[in-house]
């Protein structure tokens, strides 16, 4: 394994070894405290442009499941068609794996998809640096190629445009109620959660104007990066809301886009929520849920329009975890009810949405 150095924007260096594809890379360094689910996280388009640090040190234990595709075109085990994270940073990569459903090692997969992976990093210390300074850009450099220094930007890049589908894709055609799913970088399990509930899903590009289409409900999916880069999507949502009271549900980026459409502003968190253990409480109730999250931006709840209210709040830092309209069936969550990876306690969000598709 080649020796590598992770260099952060502030000059902090961490030394490790390359176990993935041997190529320098730059990106926004983020951390995730989940203890499992690396195949799901790597293929989550929300990680586009990011170097994903896992705080749980042992990674690769159960290998990688086959990249098989179901008849409807959705991967059986993965969250999209490929790895979206720019790199993975771990403490103790497990070269050997053991699982009945694994077909290759994490290292082989990363190499196949040309994604760097580094191990031997004190990811707890790295996380503490990110926690103190906020997320930073970072570069993985190979010690034997000191002059090969990659460049990348995160802020100001429209990652949604990079990862969104380019044309309409239909799932479960003719199944019944029709849901337009705005693809900002949607995870497969959102599609699975919808089709499993017997609805037809029409997946459209992030900036597609669906307002004149024939459908029963609108679903705004997750996606990477800064929601302020997605003004087009916000305009279309506003148009849709002005035209009809059809149900709208949003997840993650979807929460932020709907909130923006409802008048709220967005800010960047010092360090994002990326874990499987984010506690949220449904406002006005004693109901609490453990949720899976992956976001670096949040809705400023104080700026919500008068017809809107907070639906969920984060119990750790009080940040917004979802909004809803006071009259219309429009509601969202900042967390990921579709999980994958993470706890599945909030799948009821899909039930609530499908129930409203009269």
């Amino acid at each position: 394994m080649k020796n590598v150095t992770l260099v952060l924007e502030d000059g902090t260096k961490f030394h490790g070894k390359s176990f993935g594809y041997d190529q320098p890379v730059a990106g926004e360094v983020v951390f995730n405290t989940a203890m499992m689910g690396y195949p799901e996280s790597l293929t989550d388009p929300s990680y586009a442009g990011q170097l994903m640090t896992l705080t749980y040190p042992l990674v690769g234990n159960y290998g990688v499941p086959p990249f098989t595709v179901e008849p409807d075109g959705i991967a059986t085990f993965m969250e999209s068609d490929k790895i979206y994270a720019s790199a993975i940073i771990v403490a103790d990569y497990s070269e050997e794996y053991s699982h009945w459903n694994a077909v290759e090692s994490l290292a082989d997969w990363l190499k196949r998809e040309h994604v760097p992976g580094i191990t031997g990093i004190d990811t707890r210390q790295l996380t503490k640096v990110l926690r103190e300074h906020g997320v930073m850009m970072g570069k993985i450099l190979f010690d034997d190629e000191p002059d090969n220094i990659p460049q990348a930007d995160y802020e100001g890049v429209n990652f949604v445009d990079l990862v969104s589908c380019k044309e309409i894709i239909r799932y479960n055609e003719g199944a019944g109620k029709k849901v337009v799913l705005v693809d900002c970088g949607v995870k497969n399990n959102i599609i699975r959660c919808l089709t499993n509930r017997g609805v037809e899903v029409v997946r459209v590009p992030w900036n597609y104007d669906y307002t004149s289409m024939d459908f029963d409900g609108l679903f705004l999916g997750n996606g990477p990066g800064d929601p302020d880069m997605c003004e087009d999507a916000v305009q279309i949502i506003r148009k849709q809301m002005s035209l009809s009271r059809k149900p709208i549900c949003g997840i993650c980026m979807g929460n932020q886009l709907l909130a923006k459409a409802g008048g709220a502003t967005i800010y960047k968190l010092k360090y994002g929520h990326r874990s499987h253990n984010q506690p949220v409480r449904e406002v006005g109730t004693n109901k609490c849920y453990v949720t899976s999250q992956n976001h670096g931006y949040a809705v400023d709840a104080k700026t919500l329009g008068k017809d809107w209210r907070e639906l969920f709040v984060n119990m750790n830092d009080g940040s917004n975890e979802g909004v809803c309209h006071v009259e219309n069936p429009w509601f969202t969550s900042q967390f990921h009810p579709e999980a994958c990876s993470g706890p599945v306690d909030t799948e009821f969000m899909f039930d609530r949405f499908v129930d409203k598709l009269k």
Partner: protein, 1075 residues
Amino acid sequence: MKDENIKKVLLLGSGALKIGEAGEFDYSGSQALKALREEGVYTVLINPNIATVQTSEGVADQIYFLPVQPYFVERVIEKERPDGILLAFGGQTALNCGVELYKSGVLEKYSVKVLGTPVQAIMDTEDRELFVEKLNEIDVKTIKSEACETIEQARKAAAQLGYPVILRAAYALGGLGSGFCDNEEELDKLAEKAFSFSPQVLVEKSLKGWKEIEYEVVRDRYDNCITVCNMENFDPLGIHTGESIVIAPSQTLTNSEYHKLRALSIKIIRHIGIVGECNVQYAFDPKSEDYRVIEVNARLSRSSALASKATGYPLAFVAAKLGMGYGLFELKNSVTKTTSAFFEPALDYVVCKIPRWDLSKFRGVDKELGSSMKSVGEVMAIGRNFEEAIQKGLRMIGQGMHGFVENKELEIDDIDAALREPTDKRVFIISKAMHKGYTIDQIHDLTKIDKWFLQKLKHIIDIDERMKALKSVNNLDKELLREAKIYGFTDFQIARAVGLETELHSMAKAGLVVRNLRKSYGILPYVKQIDTLAAEYPAQTNYLYLTYSAVAHDIKFLGDKRSIIVLGSGAYRIGSSVEFDWCGVQALQTIRKEGYRSVMINYNPETVSTDYDMCDRLYFDELTFERVMDIIDIENPHGVIVSTGGQIPNNLAMRLDAQRVPILGTSAKDIDNAEDRAKFSSMLTRNGINQPEWSALTSMDDINKFIDRVGFPVLVRPSYVLSGAAMNVCSNAEELERFLKLAANVSEDHPVVVSRFIEHAKEIEMDAVAKNGEIIAYAISEHIEFAGVHSGDATIQFPPQKLYVETVRRIKRVSRQIAKELHISGPFNIQFMARDNDILVIECNLRASRSFPFVSKVLKINLIEIATKVMLGLPVEKPHKSLFDLDYVGIKASQFSFNRLQKADPVLGVDMASTGEVGCIGEDTSCALLKSMLSVGYRIPERNILLSTGSAKQKAEMLDAARTLVQHGYKLYATGGTSKFLTENGVGNTTVYWPSEDNQPQALDMLHNHEIDMVVNIPKNLSAGELSNGYKIRRAAIDLNVPLITNSRLASAFISAFCNMSIEDIAIKSWSEYK
């Protein structure tokens, strides 16, 4: 919100430590009491275990040292009138007692509300049938058992369940006629055999080789649920989880598998209606996502204690608050103090729990591990990779192992069989097999241990082989050295691998060479926090561990010399258990009170000393010389206390002193002067103090010559205690040989001390604290049994009731002399033998002893607090009260766990065998003894008593007691010699026959027919033949749950107690009422 009607709460403890129910309940009860007190609730505790932290001053408002049994609990309820009761914090003992009180209507009668999980939910999980039914209602799969009465039915059941299946003969003890069947042919064969034993056969799906996974789940009354932790057993299904190496979090589950089982756990806990904490155990198919629920424990458990320590989430504390009516969202995470208690910990380390067995202490015991628990303690190791964690853990269990490799070679005849049939040594057999070239596949086929674990173990072997190939430390480069340290190798393991030990002829020196080398390379461990959230938010926690997989410390060290490090007691084992945890906690509290920073090093997840708020810094790490030195290097402490944690820290004193570590209290040199028998003895001789004739011997020949001179019995002890086996009495050559094989390699380096043993002598203990050689406070207690019963198994009475004033005076004088000669500053214990007024010194330990909490609590003078102040150099006053002022008596009785140790001979003497103890207080000996004997599971017999009372002398000793029994209407059955003796002396009895005799009635039959209520069986000498008649009777008594006493002095005392007073005569008085 909190239930404001609950102002007074009764908490049931778990009693004496026993196999399957140990220190973890001191931890859970203590946390619960802490949580209640924080709410201003008045707390009442019933627990006869006097050595626990929860029964210390200031933890509960009222403490009753009484048996946790319905009769006594009802009497306490009647007196105290609590509003609520907590049943989930005292193990199965408290739970069973609570269910009985509920069923008998006592709780309703006194309007006592069960806080937390309702009793109905408890019953739904405890009753197998109800449980299966309950889970069927929500389509959750359990392990089904089909009862069949014909082969035809068995075939059908097997076909439905799917092969392989397990077949069990119903109503047959010990697994007769049970086995696995892979197909119908095998089933036919086995079923035929099974039906010959029993009219009914049970067919179950075989889950052999399935993974065993556990979840710790919490639910509040608002239906909010979290899973605090999941754990994966290294050993697949079939080995009790208490006997398995356990890893947290799970290592081989995918996201989908983890969350499938997590969601199921929440579904189950909601359906059952738990309020508080529970544990769900699964069998999980290694080849699909199929599962079965094995069981649900609706209470705090060993696993929840482990989960609590593994994650930093205070489960018992939170469960108690939920019982008071709070919602999870109303509570804060007590580690971060800012985030909510409604969250699931994220770990950024791996935890490995390893059981500690003491099977070699028991004669005849079955060593194979299976579905029942035999381990007596456990350790928890923390690392940033699996290799580091398991190697730490294997050292922590304290069986002389250095990790996974570089241990003393095990001699195994058949490696395949040893892998297939797991024993307490299996993990080391895996090491041996790997060194011998067994492949991972081969080992997996034999053990069914997941290949991932085996691959990681192989990684350790690979690093080891690379180092071995170097042949010399000079060839060891920085990179490999660092890699070895990262994967958990000690300096010594590395030294041995590169041949340094052979080169230098010294373990200690070899280790130091590597230590200095790596320090010169800057290869140092770093301190990391366990913060429950993987560094996502800042946390206040001082819960720490060390690792080499790091580049920075998590905390800042001020170098202010305000730290006092207390070395903990390590894994609970026979001979060292909760009493040393109590000592450690008292030391920590005193240190903190005096304005120093209290620092604890310990790795036992069952302890209170490792609780998150017991000290200012907790290093959950090894107590090896290397790791303790690492921590001292980092902490730069004011001083280190080695005298409150039992023998492990005591043994480190000399090596630490050689590194100029400031040891507080008695100097290391003086500790050595007490530990080194020759030095100690010449000191005694110099001072005219008597001791039994002894000699330090280095060969079997010398030993035999010595014994030829003084005769048996002899007392044998290694100069430095190995593997927990301490001093022992040997009555004959066979016993001597057995003990020497077990405890010591007789050699020049490790001489064995053999001394003449005086029979029929009283044994007396002196527990004391001295300052600069002057005794400040002391407690003298006497054993009820004569010398010959290990002091850890003896029944101890304090204050002494039957000692001559002259004896006491002499003991005080000798103790004063010894304290002065050894310049003792701190706690110490001297054991004496006394016959008439002659007193002999048996041994002296310059540390706290097992009986410190007992005497401290009976005397109501905290000896450890005084000792700690002495060690801190603070002024102390001699207490005004002495043991002669007490108007009551305390009795400490031992708890044995023979029922868990199949085939072990339940006889006392040679090795310490008890797993726990209780201490009860009464107006007189009878009252205190009755309470404590009832507390350790004895019952007052109803009518029939079986006597076989050993040698002539013992028979005579028992005569009065036998007479008393007859006078009180008991019917005596006696075996040949005893029967004859009783008849000759005019005591009516019925003769019964030994198993080897043909006549009727047979003693064994009477036991099996439940016709005997108590057995007094006194072995003739201290070495009982395994297959002897006596063994069969004793073993049957244990297996059939008939109270058994094997010592004539104890039997007489107990008989006299229950004949002189009845249960109703026992006053229900709390500790504070004994003034």
